[in-house]
Amino acid sequence: MNDLLIAGGIGVAFGWALECAGLGDPPKLAGQFYLRDFTVLKVMLSAMLTAMLGVFWGGRLGMLDPNALYVPETYLLPQLVGGLVFGLGFVLSGLCPGTSCVALASGRVEGAATMLGLFVGVLLVGLAFPEIEPFYRSTPHGTLTLQRLTGLPYGIVVALVTVIGVSMLAWIAKREAAR
């Protein structure tokens, strides 16, 4: 019960942050795909950097065990196809699953439409699962992380990702300032 309350609190904070970033607004999100608006990339990069540095330093200072975190397994081909389908839905609706909840919470009808589509999609995949299961489990690669893929130490990967992320954010900031 306590876990549910904590999860609920984190969920509300997450939605609030998304709304503050303006991610409940479908044209803003779709703008990312046309390279008109870089809000999505900025939110994603800053979230990734915060989470990565938080996990690394939290682990280093003994506050959490990074190994206890669940890393989803990689199934290359089905996830590639799934990513494309997801991206198609994202650009068509201008919302992703999380932001559709935010959009609905802030009273946008697009949010309700996207969530309806989301649940229909989940239901269809669930019903068809016995047929698509062999594909779903094809090309397994286990838990694939950047350090496993490159063979580099964790700290080096963190530094490289930070440099890339911060450079991209700086580039976006410069681009926006130039307008």
């Binding site: 690394f56 065990d65 964790y154 930070t162």
Partner: protein, 194 residues
């Protein structure tokens, strides 16, 4: 804008310092590296005899850390000199520097062997254990049997080591109960090989 720049610089600093702080976990990869464990067991590099340990302690081997994995009560009752007490549940929470030579022992060796596997799974590879535990220590160091057919130098070496730790060697040919030198009581014969 200044806040954003500050956050960016902060993130960059934290990220760039990361490679120099070591691993955030004691285990680079969770789980057992079964190949290296099998190799260590095959080569015998997983354990050390009680007599070898005694020589290490006497010679003050650098980085030597003798760890008694039994309960504090047992440890206070009797322990190998220079040992520190660290029951199994504490062992998993402890940190070990890579330059330390860790020697684990228990009463008869089984728990120390299990502790060795535990440390391996935590990524600690510089540990060994005493297969016969404290019982071996008593038998091989405190009251070792001086073989009748050994050279005088060899017998003197074993006896010296024993005397260093306040033990008393037994001479082969005498009864088990008859001990050369100081009286040693409470020493029961035990089954070997565990």
């Amino acid at each position: 804008m200044r806040l954003v720049r500050g956050l960016g610089i902060g993130a960059l600093a934290l990220g760039l310092v990361a490679p120099f702080t070591g691993s955030p976990t004691r285990t680079q990869q969770r789980g057992l590296d079964l190949d290296s464990i099998a190799r260590a067991i095959d080569e015998g590099s997983d354990h050390v005899s009680a007599r070898q340990l005694a020589e290490w302690i006497r010679d003050r081997r650098p980085g030597l850390r003798v760890i008694d994995v039994r309960s504090p009560a047992e440890f206070h009752d009797d322990a190998i000199p220079t040992a520190e007490n660290m029951p199994i549940d504490q062992l998993a929470k402890s940190r070990f520097a890579p330059d330390q030579n860790i020697v684990l022992y228990s009463q008869e060796g089984a728990h120390a062997g299990q502790a060795w596997v535990m440390l391996r799974s935590l990524g600690v590879t510089q540990a060994v254990f005493v297969p016969g535990g404290l019982a071996d220590w008593r038998e091989e160091v405190l009251s070792p049997l001086l073989p009748a057919n050994a050279s005088p130098a060899e017998r003197a070496r074993i006896a010296d080591l024993s005397h260093y730790f306040g033990g008393a060697p037994r001479v082969e040919g005498t009864q088990d109960g008859e001990i050369a030198g100081a009286a040693q009581t409470g020493q029961r014969s035990r089954r070997r090989g565990c």
